[in-house]
Subunit: 282 residues, 2 copies
């Protein structure tokens, strides 16, 4: 495993060590130990690295963001929400433990994210306040939570293209753009706005890619079954059509590449990471 | 209504104005509009006032704490947790709306609390970081969440006196001691430790008072029925006995009064507020 990713995994665990209840600790560690790509924390750290700084010094910022991501998955998986039974190939937290503790662990990870930023020594107080502002506004009632609310709302009726984009922008785009903003905050705050835009575009592109992948790949090849839920769910391919979806991916790719060229970086590690998305194989 | 309490109510509403979903906004406002005593935010502000400062300037700190309290009630009331149907005489949020939105509104209020502190202009960055540290550590997996976890755990077996005190210390004591610490942080940080202790003692005293009240008052007089749940639940009266419980209230009262005398204040508004608890009528 990439040593930076390994350091993220270790730091995530390190912050759970002081949880006083053994059950809550084990449940929290279970939730954090899924086979996750850690894309968001890697974005934070690779972006910092691309500005010539040592990413290993800023792990706390990256894991705080990842904890907010993991909390959102735990709560989204609950029976009252998406009612999912599998996450990263393992039973979801409320099935592996119980619903009450899944709610509590989610609440706990969200709270811990802010505690980590308050306690970290890797940035100064002014930067901490900015980080907390970015995390809370992107994760909150006008950000990611709004996205999950919209997603539940459109289980009842089919969204149009604009609404589908609004779900994607909030539900997945918000934390991704937060990742880029956090990296820019440490690396070069003057670039924050453009990285935020790249984050939103990349989130949208990723979602459309997923929908195209779902529509064009056989179940066998994907290694998972297409559930009825999935088939009924509105996707960009269903709303826009396959051709227009692929055109949208192409134009977003062009836009992201053009935006990146406007930024001066000392290394290309963040570009390499973005390219793993832009060149995803279907 | 007391003008400070009125200002708290208005400030709570003001922070919900920008919620983009009308349903999430209405649900959040419903949750915040219960007939609550606002004891925690009043502690923050009356303590600040007792140090000679204008409490109306620090409303943001007080409402951030209250939002964390309200989020905890929403999530504790959920079917998977305490499964409560009434809160402040009205249907709980998941019954008035639905479970999914109750989870989201709870998550949203917790997140908003940190966003408010990040955005407020009433304190400087160093103070903001300290406030966020106090809020997150008291509300988190070693604080209030641990208390709720213990409370659920001891539905299965009867706790002993020490365990009962641990539940009370974490479930209710943590946010109360946070309120005193926040007030002290603004008023006079050197007094923070002693106010924290007063907060914990007052929380424990309040819990024992409640149990004594429950045991000695007729259902008619209390204006509510004693549910089976309530009768089965471990209480200080059941574990310690009525006499020992009343003695414990008396000794905590003496300790709190002695502690307060060690602190030099410019007005007595916080003492008046504490006295409303110490002199509760049974």
């Amino acid at each position: 495993m990439d040593s930076l990713k390994q350091a993220i995994e270790q730091k995530l665990m390190a912050w759970t060590e002081t949880i006083p209840s053994s059950l809550l600790k084990v449940a929290t560690q279970y939730a954090l130990q899924g086979k996750a790509k850690r894309f968001r924390p890697l974005v934070v750290l690779r972006l910092i690295e691309s500005y010539g700084l040592d990413p290993f010094l800023y792990l706390d910022i990256a894991v705080a963001l990842e904890m907010i991501h993991v909390y959102s998955l735990i709560h989204d998986d609950l029976p009252a929400m998406d009612d999912d039974s599998l996450r990263h190939g393992r039973p979801t937290l409320h099935l592996a433990f119980d619903e009450a503790n899944a709610i509590l662990v989610g609440d706990g990870l969200l709270t811990l994210a802010f505690e980590i930023i308050a306690k970290t020594t890797c940035i100064n107080d002014a930067q901490k306040v900015k980080v907390i502002q970015i995390l809370s506004s992107h994760a909150g009632l006008s950000g990611m939570i709004y996205g999950q609310h919209l997603d539940l709302l459109f289980e009842k009726r089919t969204p149009n293209q604009e609404e589908l984009q609004a779900i994607s922008r909030h539900k997945t785009g918000m934390l991704l753009s937060a990742a880029f903003q956090l990296g820019a905050l440490v690396g070069n705050p003057q670039n924050a706005a453009i990285w935020e835009e790249i984050g939103h575009d990349l989130g949208l592109l990723f979602q459309i890619q997923d929908d195209v992948l779902e529509a064009t790949t056989s179940s066998d090849k994907m290694g998972k079954s297409k559930s009825d839920d999935l088939l009924e769910k509105a996707t960009f391919v269903k709303i826009l059509g396959l051709d227009a979806s692929q055109q949208k991916i192409a134009s977003l790719t062009t836009k992201i590449k053009k935006d990146i060229q406007r930024i001066s970086l000392s290394s290309s590690t963040i570009i390499d990471l973005i390219n793993t998305i832009l060149t995803r194989q279907y």
